[in-house]
């Protein structure tokens, strides 16, 4: 393939290094130093995509981050797929494979352009919804095909082999953008000694200086760039980050930088010394001061058919010619509102190609560049603009006419010029995205026809980012910004001598956004505002006519500024058009808010190393390895890994969960079982006021709990709703051990600290988390006492060591605290030992327990056993709207305690005193084989017309091997007064289950089994 648009000389590419790549399956060649976009243009590839909505052919428009069309899917392998890469930002490497993200079956011959034609003269906003909604039942079918042919890219279906890092950094001065302003700012700040990070999103630092016609100290500008970068690279206090985009500016100068380290080399990171390199880094920078030197984006003009391939930004034309040695056509027409764009015509001409004409919207263009163009014999059409492009798959001509800007009308007959490229420039928009992330609403400036950023303290904008465009002034502004940032950060100002730049006399620009057409906007050929989202000037007009007057509403109705583009090219034009239609000024209409990220960031970069086993910390108990070796299936409880059940192999077949749980349950009820309960939260509470404190945070009484005794308690918030429960043991007069739910440990500790530190600092009490220090094993079942007797010196006599007592002693030769607490309803001993002795004790218990049938059980069996006894799990049977009274636990409420404990006052509010509140009950399915679904809604009358009044829901439901029946806990309105009544549970599949309201205690209501 020949590179038909490649110049023989010039540009910053290395012609000696040829790189081959494929686009949409076709092989091409480019050079080192190319972007994918410049290489495609060099090869004369006009159509790079199909548009999102109308499926029109689209070509490359820009040369940087603002490119809306050339958004491609990258990747040869499945794992290497990357969607939404802008071809203008992707460096070419040998073997690169890319394809269009839109277009089905392909971009050249597209099915959907038919839809665009079927849709009539124009598809208004909401077209798909309005057109394809009837009949409503067909929408799903339409949608499938519309989606197939629309959409932007796809994600890989295989896992990513690459490595991504997060780096946390601090610096005194962060400079974003390494064009003239950024380089000057970095030099000024760095010379003062400040720690400086300089980031730039492009392959090379230098920004506009890499393709400017201007000389610095009478030398090509890139020489000054090289010198500046050499100095910065040699300074220890400077970090240079090329190929790095500052994507998000968050609170308090926290800036996220996405550094692409290998994406210019290969699809996945190449190996270095046998190891895979890091593909990208996310730098999380906390900056002292920030200088935004992000430059400006050129605005295209909005004229008819301005989306046909061959319509480019004027500045992009210069960049392709001067930086990449590519002329993207033969015959150019330039349409401009300002002087600066003339350089595109001059660069084009100097490359040896024809400039057909320059249509200048100003009546009397007279700046220096205009004179130069005139002197070269270029035809200049004053007071004119390109009003319409001709051609379908490539520009074939430009209709140019005199325009009356104030009257918004075409003022003369149009002339059709023969050309293959139209460059346009409507002026420049400062890149204010990062400043906008900080919340500052930008300010419109009529003198530059652009929004400049409103900045929070500690951040400044320099050069193009605040509307300063003349190179000499930009450099000076950069130095000043760098110096000021360093000074504010506490460093003394350093001197930077600036290179000489000839001052250019520019004529005044005019404000031109949408170009008038002979036909009214709604009947003229499409005039595109947002190319990526196919938003036209007519679409904005329709939106305003339909009453969307706020720019935020216009944006959402038309989708302007959506997608990966985020309105970089289109937003200002769109606002200007809305302003004209609404008869307001641009600042009155205002702008929409730019949000992070500036350009798309891959998930890999965001996630870093926080994936798979490092996604979240995992907590293991001291007996974890034993559980693994004994085949436990695990369940996540918060960050804990808890044994769920212990399936056994029976006749070579592994038990199902149902079989294992039934066996484990019966072992506890008939012999003895053991549970690793180490994950229970444990809080050590000490101090003379510990007892008083407990009385205030628990609903029940603590004044008389003697050392050696244990009590169950409920904790409410001050709204009277239960939020945690557990037992607390009195270890000494001023010393208690509180247990919490496994998931609630940290929350409860913070809750206790909150009340102590903010409301009752006068109470002398201290809280320490001891969850990890003590391992807990529950030995429970009728044989528990016999087993314990073999291993402990504690007197286990049922009168000496009663239910709800605790004793200190040794178990298996290890100092232990043993608690007679039961969460199963059986005789139970909870053995607490120092965690590092726990495995020894656990194994000893098994050595002695085998003859008693000691069976390890997991959380599932624990749930069945506790639910059979009606013991609640806070957070499962309660949900933040359940009072102790709703649970029927008045026995755990100290109504007459002297201090108004947390939650007490709320229990007398009218709403909490209602008798028809949802109350905890048991449910017995009429069909014993049915296990009701947790979360299932309950109704009193299944024949009631829909919507049926829902009166509660199932909170816990299991099969009980002891009862040989399904059973459930539920909350039902007024349920405590409805014992024996029938409720109904209509299911999604049409079945209706019947159940009887019963006591939530299904087994041993008097508690005789645990008291033996």
């Amino acid at each position: 393939m020949s590179q038909l648009n490649r110049l023989a000389r010039g540009g910053r590419i290395d012609r000696s290094r040829k790189l081959s790549f494929t686009f949409n399956g076709k092989r091409y060649q480019g050079h080192a130093g190319d972007t994918l976009a410049s290489a495609l243009l060099a090869n004369g590839v006009d159509i790079v995509n199909r548009s999102f909505k109308y499926s029109r052919p689209r070509g490359i428009v820009a040369a940087g981050a603002e490119e809306p069309n050339a958004v491609v899917q990258l990747g040869k392998t499945e794992a290497g797929q990357v969607p939404n890469v802008r071809a203008t930002q992707q460096a070419l490497f040998d073997g690169l494979e890319a394809r269009s993200t839109n277009g089905w079956p392909n971009v050249q011959r597209d099915m959907m352009s038919l839809v665009g034609k079927l849709g009539g003269k124009f598809m208004p906003p909401g077209f798909y919804y309005k057109t394809f909604m009837a009949p409503a039942s067909m929408w799903m079918t339409y949608e499938k095909y519309i989606r197939k042919s629309a959409g932007l890219g796809r994600s890989p279906m295989e896992s990513d082999p690459d490595i991504y890092d997060h780096l946390h950094q601090h610096c005194d001065v962060l400079v974003v953008g390494a064009g003239p302003a950024g380089l000057a700012a970095a030099l000024a700040a760095a010379r003062s000694g400040a720690r400086v990070i300089l980031v730039d999103e492009q392959e090379e630092m230098g920004g506009s200086l890499l393709d400017t016609r201007e000389l610095l100290d009478d030398k090509p500008a890139d020489q000054w760039v090289a010198e500046a970068l050499k100095e910065l690279a040699g300074l220890d206090n400077v970090t240079l980050l090329p190929r790095t985009t500052a994507n998000g500016y968050h609170d308090h100068h926290f800036v996220t930088l996405h550094e692409r380290r290998t994406e210019h080399l290969a699809e996945t990171a190449p190996l270095k010394d046998g190891r895979r390199q890091v593909r990208s880094r996310m730098h999380r920078v906390r900056a002292g001061r920030v200088v935004l030197a992000t430059g400006a984006h050129e605005r295209p003009l909005v004229y008819a058919n301005n989306d046909v391939p061959g319509n480019l930004l004027a500045g992009a034309v210069s960049t392709y010619v001067r930086r990449y040695g590519v002329v993207p056509g033969k015959r150019l027409v330039l349409s401009t509102s300002n002087d600066h764009a003339y350089r595109a015509a001059l660069d084009w001409l100097e490359s040896g190609h024809e400039v057909v004409a320059i249509a200048d919207a100003r009546a009397n263009p007279d700046g220096e560049l205009v004179e130069q163009a005139r002197a070269r014999g270029i035809r200049i059409l004053p007071g004119s603009a390109v009003i319409e492009a001709k051609g379908e798959n490539r520009v074939s001509g430009a209709r140019v006419a005199k325009v009356d800007l104030d009257g918004f009308r075409v003022a003369g007959a149009a002339e059709t010029l023969d050309c293959d490229t139209i460059a346009s420039s409507g002026g420049y928009s400062p890149v204010i995205h990062l400043a906008s992330h900080t919340g500052g609403r930008p300010t419109w400036r009529d003198d530059i026809f652009g929004f400049v950023p409103t900045l929070v303290k500690g951040v400044s904008a320099a050069g193009g980012a605040q509307g300063i465009y003349a190179t000499g002034e930009v450099l000076a502004d950069g130095v000043e910004a760098g110096r000021q940032a360093a000074t504010e950060a506490g460093f003394s100002a350093a001197s930077v001598s600036l290179p000489e730049v000839a001052v250019r006399r520019d004529g005044a620009a005019v404000g031109l956004f949408q170009v008038p057409h002979e036909k009214p906007t709604l009947r003229a050929p499409k005039q595109f505002v947002d190319l990526q989202n196919d938003v036209t000037a007519a679409g904005i007009e329709v939106a305003t006519r339909e009453g969307f007057e706020s720019i935020e509403h216009v944006k959402r109705y038309t989708a302007m500024g959506f997608g990966t583009d985020q309105g970089k090219l289109g937003n200002i034009n769109g606002m200007a058009i809305a302003a004209r239609l609404l008869g307001r000024s641009i600042p009155e209409v205002g702008t929409t808010v730019f949000r992070p990220n500036y350009t798309p960031v891959t998930f890999g970069a965001i996630v870093g190393r926080h994936c798979r086993e490092l996604f979240d910390p995992e907590r293991y108990t001291a007996m974890h390895q034993w559980h693994v070796e004994h085949g436990a299936e695990f369940e996540d409880v918060g960050q804990w890994k808890r044994p769920w059940y212990f399936p056994r192999k029976v006749n070579g077949k592994t038990e199902t969960m149902h079989e294992a749980v039934a066996r484990e349950c019966l072992a506890v009820r008939e012999a003895v079982g053991i549970l690793d309960a180490s994950t229970l939260g444990k809080i050590d509470i000490q101090g003379p006021d510990a007892r008083e404190f407990l009385g205030r945070v628990y609903t029940n009484k603590w004044a008389k709990l003697a050392p050696g005794r244990v009590r169950y308690g409920l904790m409410c918030k001050d709204d009277g709703m239960v939020f945690d429960d557990g037992t607390t043991s009195c270890l000494g007069e001023n010393h208690f051990l509180m247990t919490t739910t496994s998931g609630g440990a940290a929350t409860v500790l913070e809750w206790l600290e909150l009340w102590h530190q903010t409301e009752w600092p006068e109470l002398d009490v201290y809280f320490t988390s001891v969850t990890d220090h003590w391992a807990t094993m529950t030995v429970t079942g009728p044989e528990a006492r016999k087993l314990m007797a073999e291993l402990t010196d504690i007197d286990l006599d049922k009168d000496a060591f009663k239910f709800m007592d605790w004793r200190e002693g040794s178990v298996a030769g290890v100092p232990a605290r043993v608690f007679r607490i039961s969460f199963t309803g059986e005789l139970a001993y909870e053995i607490n030992v120092q965690a590092n002795y726990a495995l020894h004790v656990w194994e000893k218990l098994f050595a002695h327990g085998e003859k008693y049938g000691l069976t390890p059980y997991g959380t599932e069996t624990m749930h069945v056993l506790r639910a059979e006894k009606g013991f609640i799990i806070a957070g499962q049977d309660t949900d933040g709207s359940v009072t102790p009274e709703d649970l029927g636990m008045q026995w755990a409420v100290g109504y007459d305690k002297p201090f108004s404990w947390i939650g007490q006052r709320a229990l007398t509010r009218p709403d909490t005193a209602r008798t028809d509140r949802k109350q905890l009950v048991g449910l017995k399915p009429r069909d014993a084989k049915v296990v009701l679904e947790e979360g299932a809604q309950i109704v009193f009358d299944p024949n009631h017309a829909i919507p049926m009044p829902m009166v509660g829901h199932v909170t816990s439901s299991y099969y009980s091997p002891t009862l040989d029946s399904g059973f459930a806990l539920a909350v039902v309105k007024g349920g405590q007064q409805k014992m024996g009544e029938t409720v109904y549970l209509p299911m999604a599949d049409g079945q209706v289950h019947e159940a009887e309201i019963v006591s939530p205690i299904f087994l041993d209501p008097k508690g005789e089994r645990q008291n033996v």
Partner: protein, 116 residues
């Protein structure tokens, strides 16, 4: 992400170390039983949502575990000061530039280091 000066640790730390706990200076009525339902409801459920200076309760959850207060501007998110429990804010809606100093401390110096 905020950068928060813990008045107990005396250092600026990342927001990840802290938990916000809502509006500061909400005092639990000394005698809840004497409150009307409305008064109790106000204490439980009603909070200010000012545009501007706001006093917030935070906890250095994975640091020193201490609760403290932050004066924060809800528009700019600037943190004007952090102060210990029991202390009064210097920056308030009435005195956005800082109350006149009682003890000779320049308000500006207090702001140093805790500024956004």
């Amino acid at each position: 992400m905020f950068y928060i000066h813990c008045p107990y640790c005396g250092e600026l730390r990342e927001e990840e170390e802290f938990h916000p706990k809502g509006q500061a200076h909400i005092v639990r009525p000394a005698d809840p039983a004497a409150c009307s339902d409305d008064e109790w409801g106000d204490y439980l459920f009603f909070r200010d949502n000012p545009r501007g200076i706001h006093h917030e309760l935070w906890v250095h959850a994975v640091g020193c575990r201490k609760f403290f207060n932050i004066t924060r501007h809800t528009v700019t998110y600037e943190i004007l000061e952090t102060y210990k429990m029991g202390e009064q804010p210097r920056f308030t809606a009435e005195h956005p530039e800082g109350r006149p100093s009682q003890d000779g401390v320049d308000p500006a110096s207090l702001r140093e280091g805790v500024r956004a």
